[in-house]
Amino acid sequence: MSRPSRIHAYISSAWRYTLLALQSGITFPILVLYKIVGVFLYLILNRFGTKLNKYHHDGYTTLKKTTPQDKARQFINKFDSDELTLLECGYSQALYKSKREMKWLLCYIQSEEHEDHLRFKQNVLLSPQFVDFVNSHDFLVWGGDISQSEAFQVANGFKVTKFPFLGLLTLTVNSTPTANGVTTSAPVLSLVSKVQGYQDVYKVITKFSKAYDKYNPTLITLRHDHEQIEQDRQVRRAQDEAFERSLNVDRERTRQHQLRQQRERDRELYLKWRTLSMKPEPDTSAKGTYARVAIRLPDGSRTSRRFNKDISVEEIYAFAEASSTGIISLEIPPDVEKPEGYEHEYSFRLIQVMPRMEVSCDDTRIEDSVVWPNGNLIMEEKE
């Protein structure tokens, strides 16, 4: 009995199959049970976990702040295509953008779990014909998923009964004929064509081009008007700017004039004060304590005065200026004060005749300067 009999083979294979069946019969329900229990546990824990977190007020709660932009970005990531560029903003912003730029807006809402979702996306939305159509007509494209609150509201607003949904929006004007002619309303954004559910790409394009041909003239007129208005506004702005500029120049001139007048007044006041505060002329009897200085003024007349040897050369300058302007001979009220914030600068030089050299206006004592003991000076205008 070296070879096993046929019956033995049958029995052994039957035994093997029975074992397998038993094994799988036992393991399969356990597997299913395990999976179901796991999911239930997960659901329950998850649900109650979040609930508990929510009611635990002493701890901090993290608030997910998702802006419409974030939602749009999420959607674009999920949408994952390079062919169509979707607007990275919320729906209302997309409306605003379309209105401001006067462009067509294509609105796409999808339902990920819809049976036609993938078919529509591949065969219609991302088909080269449709992408070409959208890009050549310069449509703005906004997309959203129905699980997002904003897209859900939009879909309800457009009374969408079937997904995927494509809607074409543009600016239109309402014109109503009256006895006084046709009155047109302000442009409003309206849905002019919509595609619900799966349709052939040619059908979609035909439908949209029909709407485009019908409403684009209005949009072009509106855009033209808008540009006109914008141009007018530009011109007016330029005019306003020019006017403003000339007004500024005038204002500056007046200010300068006033400043100059103020300076003149201050200068006169200063000179009066300076003349008043000059040291008294030393007596001729006190020889050796004073220098005698003669000055020839620009108008040719001569004047002379005695100065104490201990005071500075600046006093000679003050005397010269007071003489040349005639202030020295004026009756000056004794309550004249030095004008505040005024820096006086002499507009002339005093020059010693022999040997010819300038007497600089500084705090040098008269005794140390060239005018000691006798000075013969010429007053010269600074150039």
Partner: protein
Amino acid sequence: MTSVLPKGFTMMPVTRYLTGFVICAPLLVSLLGIKHLLVLSYDPFISSWHQYWRFAVFQTAFQNESEVVVAITLLHFALKHLERLYGSFRLASLLIWSSLYNVVLVSILSFLVYRVLGVNLFVSAGPYGIFFTLLYLYWQSTPSIYRFELVFSGVPGSPNPAKLVITDGIFVKILMVQLFVSDGVLNSGIPSAIGVAVGALIHSHILPGKSVDFPLVIPFLRRYAARKPQPTRPTVSDVQDESDDERDATAFRDDEQDTPIRPLGTQLLDTFRT
């Protein structure tokens, strides 16, 4: 921008037929006087009399009109959304799958409860399970639009006033509770809870239902729909479609104030004003 679903059953044949069925089946059952056939209780129908067909038919019709009303309201205000979310065929497939799962789970549960605990389960007649399966899926995929707070001040012993944050889904939830307890917390609650469980299992893809066509029926329906002759000339539906667009163009404005409203009186008066 609204949270209200579009009116009517345009492009939603499955929901339409389901609504019709939910309304007509109880009527028919009442007219034929066969209400007693839909009653399901393990003892004595199954244990003594072996009437296993009762598992197959107990889901066909609600027994009371209030349940019908609540179910129809739920269908119209919430569950309609599922058809546009999934598509008609997928929803039909889902309905068949979920009704099967509900039957299986209810029969297993009533068997186990009777044998192990010795408790005789009475299960209310009507598609509770199917409705709660659909409702579970509805909650999983519907965003909330707005929320509001009810603030109760004057709760003794607490510094902050008690606050209740409610979303717009509360109205559907109230109807759900109504349906849940409509025939007694246990009688209608058990099939409803089983329906929720089935919904959870389908949603997490443990049981096939959402993305798998029910064999034979759905392929047949698909082929039937595809065989319908395509209209070559513009038909009524096409014309309707066009006029639909026109209506939308005039109906939807982002700001209604811009369109001047001229009542008939003004129009008449305008004629004489020059």
